[in-house]
Assembly symmetry: C2
Homo-oligomer: 347 residues x 2
């Protein structure tokens, strides 16, 4: 039974550790221990302390704790955009993985702008994040130095390269696309076109393009420069770029799309134009969102478990933080063959 004078919502200045200590009749040190290392304190005291905490409604002050321990329990992440299927799913999963280990996510976005990304990182660092999760691995020189100078661990996500110096968690973009190309060549395709997200300050897009280029080269093939189209990521853009690709002469028999939105746009536009998919044109994408499989003509694509990327990236930083050296992880991908691709037409 609490007597009236100790209501938890008392409008007094906020309750602190000392108040709890006073009520429980112990020292502040004991309260601290009872909370942080319960096993190091006698059971009787532990109970007294917990009771007192309940009574006064004490909530530990994270700032004070951080000031003292040099750790904030906070992980920062900077993503190019949040409203993109794969990133959103990754963040979702990241959040859960962090919460499970009692960390909290400080989120920022860079809008695909390296400068902005840098400044966001600085802001997060000032906020005292214990670790960072970034996207991609290409950084401006000054930026790179800044990061390595920091003592806080960071992870590059959505990329994987075996020889990378920093831990990264993601699929091997280039290899995934190469595998897709192998499949298409196997299907008899020889004339390719590609529509891709602009590779400027986007190393994932660049890696995908490189994967395509090298795989084709390996088969003695290539995408002529005029058959390569770059643009933003949207369905509308995919539609527009497909129209351009269809003006090529001779027409390509296979169209490789750098991401899911472009693929969806390309497919829908092909349907609108009456281009038969896959008879006249095979369309393949990258990344897998629900839409791609539900469209009138489901789209062949590279499936990457984006949530895996998020979850693993989160666990990786936390491992680094706790000293367990973590070397990053390759996230598997899978070529999902659907109705939008098939044997090359003989035209």
């Amino acid at each position: 039974m609490t007597d009236g004078k100790a209501r938890p919502d008392s409008s007094m200045s906020r309750v602190g550790l000392r108040d709890v200590a006073r009520i429980a009749g112990v020292s502040t040190a004991t309260v601290s221990r009872a909370v942080n290392r319960p096993e190091s304190v006698s059971e009787a005291l532990r109970d007294r302390v917990n009771l007192a905490i309940e009574q006064v409604g004490w909530v530990p002050n994270a700032a004070a704790r951080a000031l003292n321990s040099n750790r904030t329990g906070t992980i920062g992440a900077v993503f190019p955009a949040l409203a993109l299927g794969d990133f959103a799913r990754a963040i979702d999963a990241m959040q859960d993985a962090l919460a499970a280990r009692d960390y909290v996510l400080l989120l920022a976005r860079s809008n695909y702008d390296p400068e902005l990304e840098f400044s966001q990182v600085r802001k997060l660092v000032e906020r005292g994040v214990d670790g960072l999760i970034l996207v991609g691995h290409s950084r401006a020189p000054g930026y790179q130095d800044y990061l390595s100078r920091l003592k806080i661990p960071y992870i590059n996500s959505f990329v994987y390269e075996a020889d990378a110096v920093m831990p990264c968690v993601g699929p091997d973009n280039a290899q995934a696309m190469a595998q897709m190309v192998d499949y298409l060549v196997e299907q008899g395709h020889r004339r390719f076109s590609m529509i891709a997200q602009t590779t400027r300050s986007n190393d994932r897009a660049l890696a995908r393009y490189e994967g395509v280029r090298r795989a084709l080269e390996h088969h003695g093939l290539a995408i002529p420069p005029r058959a390569l189209f770059e643009g933003k990521w949207s369905i509308a853009e995919g539609r527009a770029l497909l129209r351009q690709a269809m003006t090529l002469d001779p027409r390509p028999t296979a169209l490789i799309c750098g991401n899911s939105l472009l693929a969806v746009g390309a497919l829908l536009e092909a349907l609108s134009l009456g281009v038969a998919v896959p008879q006249q044109l095979s369309i393949v994408g990258y990344d897998d969102v629900e839409f791609m499989s539900e469209l009138p003509v489901p789209i062949t694509t590279v499936r990457v478990a984006s949530d895996e990327v998020g979850r693993v990236a989160a666990d990786c930083v936390l491992d680094l933080l706790e000293g367990k050296a973590s070397r990053g992880q390759r996230i598997p991908f899978e070529i999902v063959i659907r109705a939008s691709s098939g044997p090359a037409c003989d035209t």
Copy 2:
């Protein structure tokens, strides 16, 4: 020219205000002022201080600052999910609005679980967020008390009710759906079916349903219980529910979908089944994502500027924080009529 002993990346214990003060030959108080209220210090000193800051690479410690000022420069947000088109866009915009005013976003997700939402909020509060952005306005009793007891401002987003006691930022879900119903009735529809996200612990879904119900009632119409289907939010679910709706006898002439994914699923399934849209069935949705307008049959829907919601919500909390009383804001919606809806068939 810096002499060797003062490298910014020196592995000494982290640089602090005192180091800057020492280098600049001033007191710590002056450095603090020069940083936080530059106008209150002479120009010469300001320059000296800034130079020293650069030299030693000082970064203010947010924890110490927070401890002292009781403000963290952090806003917490708890969303049901992040990987959902509208939420993702809102978070995107929120993030920008906060960054513009030098705040940072602490993000958590509740997975539509009120208990989890509550615990996430507690965690954010312990982290010392200055304000909160939540979704919806229905809360469990204990939760509600907890919130009102806190001295920190919060905003309910994605909902708007003129008589709400807490500031909210969002569209009037019920009114939007009512307006959609009016349109459909005007088009001659009398037999309705609705597929909706489960209304359990989702007041937005509930409000939309209520809007439909009341509007129909106003026209002397109703959706019979067996014509109301609830499920999760996904395209696949929309497909499944449409199949169920099509088994009704007599068939509905208009199908109202509670969100965008359900609408897309319903439309695609209708196409698959050979149900003519809108001749045999008008399909309307809620919310607007790019897909809806790009499908073979573009979908009539309620368009809400989700990014507006995020932006305004962010600005609102910050206003509250700065004492400018803010009463929330109604975000406008718009009925976008596309090819998926039309006059009722006379069958």
